[in-house]
């Protein structure tokens, strides 16, 4: 362990840490509270850039051997996930002026980074918890809404159960191999003694819980609805991405055994159907997005069916496309008199007449999430199902595609509201804030890039 390796290899993490420290200092020193946002943005941007540059430079290393290592692909994934937090921060500016939101967010991001680089279950667990714990608090932060505590409790209890499940699985793995390295998981995947099988199942279930896969999804709609928009956005994108990428790290690139196939195909498939169906009649935007994210969790785990480097490529690209468009959608929701009104899909009626730009971005985001070309959501979905098909699971691929069809309707419903319905007279419709505008531009630019040149990004992964 050399200091240089620690500083350089963990540069993104360190930058996030520095940001946190700066915000704390600011808080303690009683500095201007509005400075927290620029600080956090700076830290996140710097971390993103650092991760990206390191990835492009081909940095490789293990600052803490056996616990933490970086490779260009992980750095790239890290860059993407951290980068997704940037629009979230901008989105928050209307709602959270204090430093606590930014501090918690940076902390959670730090956890995600750990997660993506962990070599042992020790760091993995640490990352998982550092990622999750601040989010409970973040959900709670929307305390202007009476339901936020309920949402936080539900999230905390079920997420805590996930942690416990995860730990039980880990302890079984530990018992079987005597090691806490993540290679133990790969070994257990191949093994067939009951304890190893149970261990794999428990670990996967834990991640299903975190990523909200049916029937472990129940917390998500309630928590997403109870939280405020930036937090929901964060949970739907970064947290979900973190969980999936962590499990991806465990599975590596080896082809799946038949048992693992069933595990990773059936519940995600159910998830796609369930999420897409349940989203159809939701009156609220966040709850709809929650179900949408449940369906997308299904696609993400579907990507595990593919083998080799394609698996990583598919997951990361999907995370990128899904995250960007989802955030763009959140950024296009216009402000309203109160949170409940803002959340209602009805308030989107006639959006195009009021806010053509926001409506267009929203429409594009929805179509991308629905997987309609030429938007990146399509390429992402294509990548996933291509891999599934290439791995020989034709039936699963077809079923998954058909299930994805179910989702088109409710995304189109949003477009319909924004473009084709007369605005409702009663609530005075608000406008999209400047920061939100910035956030949407921040999402839109890479989306356009991904639309026109998906090959670029794919080649990078």
């Amino acid at each position: 362990m050399s200091w240089q390796a620690v500083i350089v290899g963990m540069l993104p993490e360190n930058l996030l840490l520095a940001g946190m420290v700066a915000i704390i200092v600011l808080e303690i020193a009683g500095g201007p509270r509005r400075a927290a946002l620029p600080l956090a943005v700076l830290a996140v941007a710097a971390a993103t850039l650092a991760a990206l540059l390191l990835a492009l430079a081909g940095a490789e290393g293990a600052p803490f051997p056996g616990q933490f290592s970086v490779t260009p692909p992980t750095l790239l994934a890290k860059a993407i996930v951290i980068g997704l937090a940037l629009p979230v921060l901008l989105l928050s500016s209307d709602e959270f002026s204090g430093g606590e939101f930014h501090l918690l967010l940076l902390a959670s991001l730090y956890g995600v980074c750990l997660l993506l680089s962990s070599d042992s279950f020790l760091t993995l667990f640490l990352g998982l918890e550092i990622m999750s714990l601040p989010v409970y608090a973040l959900v709670l932060l929307a305390f202007r809404r009476p339901q936020s505590a309920e949402a936080a409790l539900k999230y905390l209890v079920l997420s805590g159960a996930a942690s416990a499940t995860f730990l039980l699985g880990v302890s079984f793995l530990y018992g079987g191999t005597g090691s806490l390295g993540i290679e133990a998981f790969a070994v257990a995947l191949e093994a067939s003694e009951p304890m190893a099988v149970a261990a794999v199942a428990l670990v996967v279930i834990a991640f299903f819980l975190k990523a909200a896969v049916v029937p472990f999804h129940t917390w998500a709609p309630d928590a997403y609805e109870g939280a405020s928009i930036p937090v929901t956005a964060y949970m739907a994108t970064v947290v979900k991405a973190g969980a999936v990428l962590a499990l991806l790290r465990l599975f590596g690139t080896a082809p799946l055994s038949p048992r693992a196939i069933e595990l990773l195909a059936i519940l995600p498939l159910v998830s796609i159907v369930w999420g897409n169906l349940a989203a159809m009649r939701q009156p609220g935007f966040r709850r709809m997005i929650a179900y949408s994210s449940i369906a997308h969790a299904g696609y993400l785990f579907y990507a595990f069916l593919g083998a080799g480097a394609g698996r990583f490529q598919a997951v990361v690209f999907y995370v990128l496309a899904y995250g960007l468009t989802n955030l763009a959608a959140f950024a296009s929701i216009p402000a309203a008199a109160d949170d409940a009104a803002r959340d209602r899909l009805d308030s989107l009626k006639g959006l195009f007449q009021r806010e053509p730009y926001a409506a267009l971005v929203l429409a594009m985001a929805m179509l991308s999430l629905a997987g309609i070309p030429p938007f990146p959501g399509f390429v992402a979905k294509f990548l996933v199902f291509k891999n599934v098909m290439a791995a020989g699971y034709t039936t699963y691929a077809v079923l998954g595609l058909v299930a994805s069809y179910l989702g088109i309707y409710f995304y189109l419903r949003v477009v319909q509201y924004a473009f084709m319905s007369a605005p409702e007279a009663v609530p005075a419709p608000g406008t999209v804030g400047r920061a939100a505008l910035a956030a949407s531009v921040l999402c839109l630019a890479p989306v356009v890039l991904l639309t026109l040149f998906p090959g670029w990004v794919i080649a990078l992964l």
Binding site: F121, F125, A149, L153, S163, L168
Partner: protein, 100 residues
């Protein structure tokens, strides 16, 4: 049945007990305690395996679990406080405004 197996069985039993507790107890505080029970079941199994394998990584994880459990409760308590303040009850059944 040797000692390890007994301890393991106990650990799984604790975990299951905790989980069942979460499912059946209506009091939110008891529920939180049951969550701790689950974690303690895991801790017991980790310690047992660490002992069996004569490696101490497991024990390190146990300590981490303690910390995390404490942190979870630290967040859980204000949540419960907020809930009790608005609902005037500890009954979980009344915390179901969010649904659908």
């Amino acid at each position: 049945m040797d000692k390890t197996q007994v301890l393991l069985a106990l650990a799984v039993a604790l975990f299951a007990l905790g989980m069942i507790g979460v499912v059946v107890r209506r009091n939110v505080l008891v529920m939180l305690m049951c969550m701790e029970l689950m974690l303690n079941g895991v801790n017991l199994s980790l310690v047992t395996f660490a002992h069996q394998a004569a490696s101490n990584v497991g024990a390190v994880l146990v300590f981490l679990v303690f910390v995390v459990a404490a942190a979870e409760i630290a967040i859980a308590i204000p949540i419960v406080l907020l809930l009790v303040r608005s609902k005037r009850t500890l009954d979980l059944a009344s915390y179901s405004d969010l649904k659908g």
